[in-house]
């Protein structure tokens, strides 16, 4: 005896998608462009993620790197660290994978509109942020200033180098880069990403800081944002957790009572300030 109706479809069933293009990003990172076999769209927002399946190997969550303004296809940037990622890196164009999603809340585009945007990327944190950056660039007049602070461990580990170079040349945005450790060719800033903060002037009232990077980075970035008097509500972070099912059931991504795959992965610092274990 239960009143709940049985759904028609399984929330665990992926949609077949075809790999139409791959592009090397860095030594362990590759970009994959997909198109659904059924011709449909992903219909995502910047900051959301999908679950990607390679049947026989497994399924894993991955952020979406393309902007929804790019029609029909979508892109995932993937670092080769596990079973699924390694099998994915071995795929040739034309192969089929399974996709579930998009999942999660994504960046609050409506709130961001009309405001200045300060993006702080650490390493492959640039992967989900690229979706937002390209979205803002495609709808440039909807937003105020666009500033990007991007940090990499070494010059070899810079992601999307050709895009960084294009962004560098644009007049309608500002990009500052740094590396933790330089080499003989590197002439830019050396130091962690927070060392770039003194180099930007912002209007804290109208600025949203949006940061994605390794878990250790967040506390320091938040501290810099607060130094610049950005309100906690306007500091946004995307948190990495083990989002196994993506639909708020399996429990792996829980931070306290929060299911990151449902309420997140994007949170304002105001929301997670009191959430123990979050950052």
């Amino acid at each position: 005896m239960i009143s709940q109706a049985i759904p028609e479809a399984s929330i665990y069933q992926p949609r077949p998608a075809k790999l139409i293009r791959t592009e090397a990003i860095a030594e362990r990172e590759k970009l994959f462009e997909f198109e659904f076999r059924d011709g449909g769209e992903l219909g995502h927002k910047p900051g959301q993620f999908v679950e990607i399946s390679l049947f026989g190997i497994g399924e894993m969550p991955n952020s979406i790197s393309s902007s929804p303004t790019k029609n029909c296809s979508f892109e995932l940037a993937v670092r080769n660290v596990g079973n699924v990622t390694s099998a994915l890196h071995g795929l040739t164009e034309g192969s089929t994978v399974g996709i579930r999603g998009p999942f999660g809340n994504g960046f609050p585009i409506d709130k961001l509109k009309g405001n200045d945007i300060l993006i702080v990327a650490g390493g492959i944190g640039l992967f989900p942020l690229r979706s937002l950056i390209n979205y803002v660039l495609d709808k440039r007049s909807d937003f105020g200033r666009l500033m990007i602070l991007s940090g990499s461990r070494t010059p070899q580990e810079r992601m999307f180098v050709s895009e960084l170079e294009k962004w560098q040349e644009r007049r309608d945005m500002e990009l500052l880069e740094t590396v933790d450790r330089g080499d003989e060719k590197w002439t830019g800033n050396v130091g962690v990403v927070t060392t770039l903060f003194p180099k930007v002037d912002i209007d804290p009232q109208n600025t949203f800081a949006i940061t994605v990077g390794p878990p250790v980075m967040y506390k320091f970035v938040v501290a810099e944002c607060k130094k610049k008097a950005i309100a906690d509500e306007q500091i946004l972070l995307s948190l990495e957790r083990r989002m196994k099912c993506g639909v708020g059931k399996c429990g792996h991504c829980q931070i306290n009572g929060v299911y990151v795959c449902q309420e997140g992965p994007v949170f304002s610092y105001a929301e997670i300030r009191k959430l123990e274990e979050a950052i």
Partner: protein, 347 residues
């Protein structure tokens, strides 16, 4: 709610009629000096006066391992969802286990309804029975889960010579009409039922030192309590507490493939937040690396997180975790009471 009477001598007939119907009938049976739910071949196997079944009836709704998708690799990927559900009558489920199923119902429905769970659930009939001999580790009386008015098709109460049967659904009524010899319950028999329930409430040996509603607030203030470290030092991270829990529903998903490397299945399997690698991500970060944080997470999930999410406590007080825990640290009541005492001294 309508109430009927089944005389004790007629109970076996009812059970055997159900066994001979198209459904699988599951009830508490003896197992190595304990009780465990299992398929009944005959009414004589069924124990209705058990204290606690080792495992909750959860596995009939969320099996330990369950296929979600079958696939075949080839030129075109073929992947089909797998939904398996058989008619099951759970006979003699205690109220706390019914309350736990009510929580699972909420967790697996809502915005992302789970077809596998809900398909099984739709085919499960619940015939409850009041627990008159509580387990020494149980504390249902403190959580309001010792009795229930909802969540069952039929609810039995042993009043000596007969069982009072409360009818909770039309399906329950139909089963009763078709398979059981019943008569109307008298007023005095209903009074006897209340007395039996009252007597049972007095038998609980473990109690919370606060009301259940106060738990989320207590936990709000207890994050830094030393009790989590103290207790978790003995924790084996063996997962026994979560594996026997009627309200735990976390799972892992894996693929398995045949030796021809073509056909395979994706399955889910019980997992638990007390296991070391539960919050480990591919990059190597483990967000609850030490047993203290895992121990605390479980307690908070039981007493706060699920309450805030689903409006139902994540613990029904059955006492299974306390019974299963070799290190003797798993009882939520014990931890909650310690926290309450700490607060009392603090305030």
């Amino acid at each position: 709610m309508e109430n009927r009477i089944i005389e004790k001598q007629n109970m076996d007939v009812f059970v055997n009629n159900l066994i001979n119907s198209d459904a699988e009938v599951v009830g508490a049976k003896r197992k190595d000096g304990k009780y465990a739910f299992g398929k009944l071949a005959d009414a004589t196997e069924l124990c209705l006066d058990y204290d606690l079944a080792l495992y909750p009836p959860k596995s009939y709704l969320l099996p330990p391992k369950e296929t979600l998708i079958k696939f075949e690799l080839g030129e075109e990927l073929e992947a089909e969802p797998v939904v398996e559900a058989e008619r099951v009558i759970l006979f003699g489920v205690h109220p706390y286990d019914i309350k736990a199923i009510e929580l699972l119902d909420v967790a697996f429905s809502g915005t992302n309804p789970d077809i596998n769970y809900l398909s099984r659930r739709a085919k499960v009939t619940i015939i409850g029975i009041d627990c008159l001999n509580p387990n020494p580790n149980a504390f249902c009386a403190s959580l309001g889960t010792a009795t229930t008015d909802t969540g069952f098709d039929l609810m039995l109460t042993d009043i000596g010579a007969s069982y009072v049967v409360a009818i909770g659904s039309s399906e329950g009524e139909e089963l009763l009409g078709k398979y059981a010899v019943t008569r109307e319950a008298t007023q005095s028999e209903l009074v006897q039922r209340d007395e039996q329930r009252q007597k049972a409430l007095a038998k609980y040996k473990v109690a919370l030192s606060m009301s259940a509603e106060d738990l989320p607030e207590l936990l709000d203030k207890s994050w830094d309590s030393p009790v989590f470290k103290e207790k978790s030092e003995k924790c084996l991270s063996c997962g026994s507490c979560v594996m026997v829990c009627p309200t735990c529903f976390c799972f892992d998903v894996q693929d398995d493939i045949a030796l021809n490397l073509k056909q395979g299945e994706r399955y889910r399997q019980w997992d638990g937040c007390m296991l070391v690698d539960f919050a480990l991500v591919a990059g190597g970060e483990n967000f609850r690396r030490d047993s203290e944080t895992r121990f605390r997470h479980r307690m908070y999930r039981k007493g706060k997180y699920l309450w805030e999410r689903y409006g139902k406590l994540g613990c029904v007080g059955c006492g299974r975790c306390a019974s299963a825990c070799l290190a003797e640290i798993a009882s939520p009541a014990e931890t909650f009471n310690t926290l309450k005492e700490e607060r009392r001294q603090h305030d």
